[in-house]
């Protein structure tokens, strides 16, 4: 695997009304790697993802991104300077129902990023949209239809096509498979993994479902109350957790084997 870095984050903090949502988070992300961010709701994982993309502005810390034109300090750029970089960083959202505009056709949804960045003429855009549809395994007839005509899994495929049409380097998946049925979830996970191989994508994978993270990620950050309490390779963290909080999270996963009883650790006795 290529060991070139795509993103470095150091000392990142974000406060809402003085309350810390993300505190002193540092990590690095290599190209073609999948980094998982896990934690309970309120642990700051989504805020962290948004700070990195500058969807919200971090209060402290450094976010450096290895763009096509070399390293840039994302946290210092003005909104206008960010625009061309946005093409290289894309997001796949959780809810396939609210993240697609119901009044736009699939063609309009998928080609919108190209229009925003002023790329290509009409014919080229259409060719690219059709290419994306093939890539996410949707039929070409989908083009003229509206989001309501699709199932949850198909909508998520549309969202993926929209995120990838600009050929980004970094893709942030914020709970992208959480809202899906287990069988559809399996299809989308497979699709994300295939696309990663094919296009050399780097994923930042925010999720609360630890078994999904275990399957798809190379490394993982465990967040608790805005801080990273543990990070390491998936095998290290899942097989030999060092922190009590990680153990608590792992002990709460119900095993699909009826002979492995659920024995969640007690939060209070761990002092968390």
């Amino acid at each position: 695997m290529n060991s070139e870095l795509v993103l470095t984050v150091a000392g990142l903090s974000k406060y809402f009304d003085g309350v810390p949502a993300v505190q002193d988070v540092s990590f690095e992300l290599k190209r073609s790697e999948t980094l998982g961010i896990v934690g309970e709701s309120g642990s700051g994982k989504t805020t962290l993802a948004r700070c990195i993309l500058r969807a919200i502005d971090p209060d402290e810390g450094v976010v450096r991104f290895n763009s096509d034109g070399g390293w840039v300090d994302l946290h210092r750029l003005t909104d206008r300077e960010l625009v061309p970089l946005r093409a290289e960083m894309q997001m796949i959202f959780q809810d396939p129902f609210s993240s697609l505009n119901p009044r736009m056709t699939v063609q309009e949804i998928i080609e919108e990023p190209l229009l925003i960045h002023g790329l290509d003429d009409r014919r080229e855009r259409r060719t690219k949209v059709l290419e994306m549809l093939d890539l996410v395994q949707l039929s070409h007839e989908s083009l003229t239809r509206y989001p309501h005509a699709f199932s949850g899994g198909q909508r998520q495929r549309i969202g993926i096509a929209r995120a990838l049409i600009l050929r980004p380097n970094l893709v942030v998946c914020d709970e992208s498979v959480s809202a899906l049925d287990v069988s559809v979830q399996a299809q989308i996970i497979n699709l994300l993994e295939d696309l990663q191989q094919e296009l050399g994508l780097t994923y930042l994978f925010v999720a609360h479902d630890l078994s999904v993270v275990q399957h798809i990620c190379d490394r993982v950050l465990v967040m608790h109350r805005g801080r990273v309490v543990e990070q390491g390779t998936v095998d290290e963290v899942f097989d030999h957790p060092k922190e009590d909080y990680t153990r608590l999270l792992l002990s709460a996963i119900p095993s699909p084997d009826p002979d492995v009883p659920l024995r969640p650790l007690d939060r209070r006795s761990l002092g968390l």
């Binding site: 709701s41 949850g152 069988s183 479902d209 275990q214 399957h215 798809i216 709460a252 699909p256 084997d257």
Partner: protein, 318 residues
């Protein structure tokens, strides 16, 4: 099964239609299974499989454009005569006694199951006042007792608080307290932990499991999470597109599934798959076989029931 059959609910040939712009949708087709007394029965399936519709039928909560078009749900209370829930009139006193009294329900989304304008104590006490002839003071005390049992501390203060002041897990505890306060014979849980964090889910699951063992009531647990099923259920009913495909004990269904669809469902769980390999999907396990064709349930030698075409039924079927 060899044991004497003491079923609190016996569902037979249940059919539900929804009238839509594009014609009739058969939400349930010939659904039939038993809910044994004092046990946990899990109904699993994907969205659209009809598991929630089945639960709503038991409570008679199917509203137009939906309609129960056939079948029966025999309810055998511990005391008193058995009756068919489907054939009860809308204003039958037995139906009102059933809802929230003999059978109660825990819903998925605690914020919508609770009213935002009443205090928590008020809402739990209301359930008692609806079903029993007791004074407000007694109801309040019993509500406080129930809330303590589901693990809510500092009870005097919490009773006078509103749902928005509670966290998601605490709210779900309140909903469980509301459902259990009238000591129902059947507790229906419709995806009660889907909206919760995995740690909170573990707390609520252990709570429901411990209370079930303590109170000995029957639980019908609806979920799409096979991990939850494995931890909680005695018996499992697998549904797909409004039909029952497989019924068996939790070990039969999860460890040695017979129906290809059940196998597909199990194979799609990321936790069970080998890392670095693509996950199996239903399609890759089931293939293109038509699993919607309604084959009648056949009882196998080991007691489980499956819906399979005659040529695929394993040896030893009766």
């Amino acid at each position: 099964m060899a044991e004497t059959t003491d079923n609190v609910l016996e569902i037979r040939d249940l059919a539900v239609d929804f009238k839509t712009d594009t014609g009739l949708t058969n939400a349930l087709v010939n659904v039939g299974f038993d809910v044994p007394r004092g046990k946990v029965t899990a109904v699993v399936g994907e969205s659209g499989s009809g598991k929630s519709v089945t639960a709503n039928c038991i409570m008679r909560l199917i509203q137009p454009p939906g309609r129960i078009t056939g079948g029966s749900i025999a309810f055998q209370p511990e005391q008193g005569e058995a009756f068919d829930i489907v054939s009860l009139g809308k204003k039958d006193p037995r139906l009102l006694d059933l809802r929230g009294g003999k059978i109660s329900m825990v819903f998925q989304e605690p914020m919508t199951a609770l009213s935002p304008v009443y205090t928590v104590g008020n809402q739990v006490a209301e359930a008692i006042l609806c079903h029993r002839d007791v004074s407000k003071e007694v109801a309040w005390k019993e509500a406080a007792h129930m809330l303590e049992r589901v693990g809510i501390g500092d009870i005097e203060r919490r009773m006078t608080m509103y749902p928005f002041e509670f966290s998601g897990g605490m709210r779900q505890r309140v909903v469980v307290a509301m459902a259990l306060v009238c000591n129902p014979e059947v507790l229906i849980c419709d995806e009660p932990t889907t909206a919760l964090d995995v740690t909170i889910q573990a707390e609520i699951l252990t709570l429901i499991r411990d209370l079930q063992r303590e109170l000995g009531n029957s639980v019908l647990f609806i979920t799409h999470d096979l991990g939850v099923v494995a931890q909680l259920a005695d018996q499992v009913v697998v549904m797909y597109q409004g039909r029952v495909l497989e019924i068996g004990t939790v070990r039969q269904v999860l460890k040695t599934p017979v129906h290809p669809y059940t196998r597909g469902l199990l194979a799609a769980i990321p936790g069970l798959a080998k890392k670095g390999q693509p996950l199996s999907t239903i399609a890759s396990v089931v293939g293109d076989t038509d699993i919607t064709t309604p084959w009648p349930l056949v009882t196998l030698a080991d007691g489980r029931q499956v819906s399979l075409p005659p040529d695929q039924i394993p040896e030893g079927a009766s």
